[in-house]
């Protein structure tokens, strides 16, 4: 990988290097889905996974298999595209003038031909030892420290170890240890967690076949086109601890430049 004068240089995409600190970290991106729980909704303990609640019917998700990989390299951006089964696409890219790695994901339409509702998540696995601690910005106002299987105010035993460790992520989720940090910025509010050491997990897309009895009265099964929705979004991955840079990038991702495209009825010289 050529040098481009930036502080972060990915060697797409199995590891990334903080050149300022001459430090390399591993990064692995994998996709998974949780099968949704089906209950009878008569008592709270028997609720289905639905629009209001995430309730997987498994303690570990099913990992998707990569089917094809393509690389595109050019003067501005290097991309690696991985197509997974279950209609999932991941485009990992690095713009040579920008200080982040972008993972553009596409999920759907989610296949429900097996009558199983599914909830898709992405996992970013690094070699950072975070001791079960991770940070989410919760409601977008304040970054809060989360600890796996713990609550700060009382002793807790989680009956649902996956959902019980999921927290709202409005803009950012990160793990850190000493000088090392892995931050993932989201382009929309998502659920996120860190279930294993060095890992950041974010929920991407859900399609469920049963109502969860919290009031909506419908399953989360959007079939406007008869097939379910396709969702496409982006995560931006940073290794920096520069809070100003991160803060700016959070706003930049949410308030992207507004783009207008218009036909030019005038030649270039006149436009100039």
């Amino acid at each position: 990988v050529r040098s481009h004068g930036l502080n972060v240089k990915p060697t797409i995409i199995d590891n990334f290097e903080n050149r300022a600190k001459r430090d390399t970290s591993d990064l692995d991106i994998t996709f998974h889905y949780y099968p949704g729980c089906v209950g009878n909704n008569r008592v709270p303990a028997n609720r289905s996974s639905g629009a209001y609640i995430f309730r997987p019917n498994a303690t570990s998700p099913k990992q998707l298999n990569p089917l094809t990989t393509e690389n595109f390299n050019g003067v501005l951006v290097d991309e690696k595209r991985v197509v997974y089964d279950q209609k999932v696409l991941s485009v990992r890219r690095h713009y040579k003038e920008l200080e982040f790695i972008e993972n553009e994901w596409l999920v759907g339409p989610i296949d429900i031909s097996d009558d199983v509702g599914k909830e898709f998540a992405v996992r970013y696995q690094s070699d950072i030892l975070n001791n079960g601690e991770f940070y989410t910005d919760s409601n977008g106002r304040q970054v809060l420290k989360r600890k796996l299987n713990q609550r700060p105010q009382w002793n807790v035993t989680l009956a649902e170890p996956i959902a019980g460790n999921y927290y709202p992520v409005t803009n950012e989720i990160y793990i850190e240890n000493g000088d090392k940090r892995l931050t993932v910025l989201t382009d929309r509010s998502q659920g996120g967690t860190s279930l294993q050491e060095g890992q950041v997990e974010l929920m991407l897309h859900r399609r469920l076949l049963h109502d969860d009895a919290f009031g909506v009265g419908e399953a989360l099964n959007e079939t406007a086109n008869g097939e379910g929705l396709v969702v496409r979004g982006r995560h931006r991955i940073f290794t920096t601890k520069d809070e100003v840079l991160l803060r700016k990038n959070i706003l930049q991702l949410h308030q992207q430049p507004i783009v207008f495209v218009s036909e030019a009825h005038i030649p270039y010289d006149q436009w100039l």
């Binding site: 094809t68 050019g74 951006v77 696409l89 485009v91 003038e97 783009v259 207008f260 030019a264």
Partner: protein, 183 residues
């Protein structure tokens, strides 16, 4: 002002917790889509008038530019994929200078991108992933995305002129090539 108020009103409705989290019934989702879509379409009228006023100094003259509604989230834009020359106007709403990568849907070809100062800038053509091309609801002829980096000033507007050139792709000086490796 009334079309701007229509968009403000629609955005107000979208603050409802059901709209934010997606816990509304499906027919309500469709109604939200209808409200927002109509409001955005109407509010674009202001952008069209404003930009033509800025460029011509007279809003009553026939427009130089017609803004197209693009669906960049599905790599679809009628204006850029059907025109041999088009203009990308970008507004940075943030209070600091920034660099942003723009990805404009186009059909395969050779393109030149010009910055507002007339300088030709680097661009790169990358194919749209087949999974995106196959999205059932996507209606677009775009097969590629034209990528370039926009350097934007705080609260600034910039326009880029893009020209499709009848040149062999390999002869282009805009570096709009791509290398493909697959396994």
């Amino acid at each position: 002002k009334f079309v701007l108020n229509e968009l403000k009103s629609a955005m107000g409705v979208m603050q409802h917790h059901d709209a934010i989290t997606g816990t509304e019934k499906q027919h309500v989702t469709h109604d939200y889509e209808r409200l927002l879509n109509q409001a955005i379409d109407d509010a674009l009228l202001i952008a069209r008038q404003a930009f033509n006023k800025v460029t011509q100094g007279d809003a009553l003259k026939p427009p130089l530019f017609e803004y197209a509604r693009c669906r960049l989230n599905e790599s679809s834009c009628h204006a850029s994929e059907t025109s041999d020359q088009f203009i990308i106007t970008v507004y940075n709403s943030l209070g600091w200078d920034l660099k942003e990568a723009l990805r404009i849907p186009v059909v395969e070809g050779s393109y030149e991108v010009y910055a507002p100062n007339g300088q030709k800038i680097d661009s790169q053509l990358v194919p749209i992933p087949p999974l995106v091309l196959k999205i059932p609801t996507r209606h677009s002829s775009a097969t590629h995305e034209l990528v370039f980096i926009a350097r934007l000033h705080a609260l600034g507007i910039k326009s880029f002129y893009i020209k499709k050139i009848k040149k062999n792709k390999r002869d282009s000086h805009t570096h709009d090539y791509y290398n493909v490796g697959s396994n």
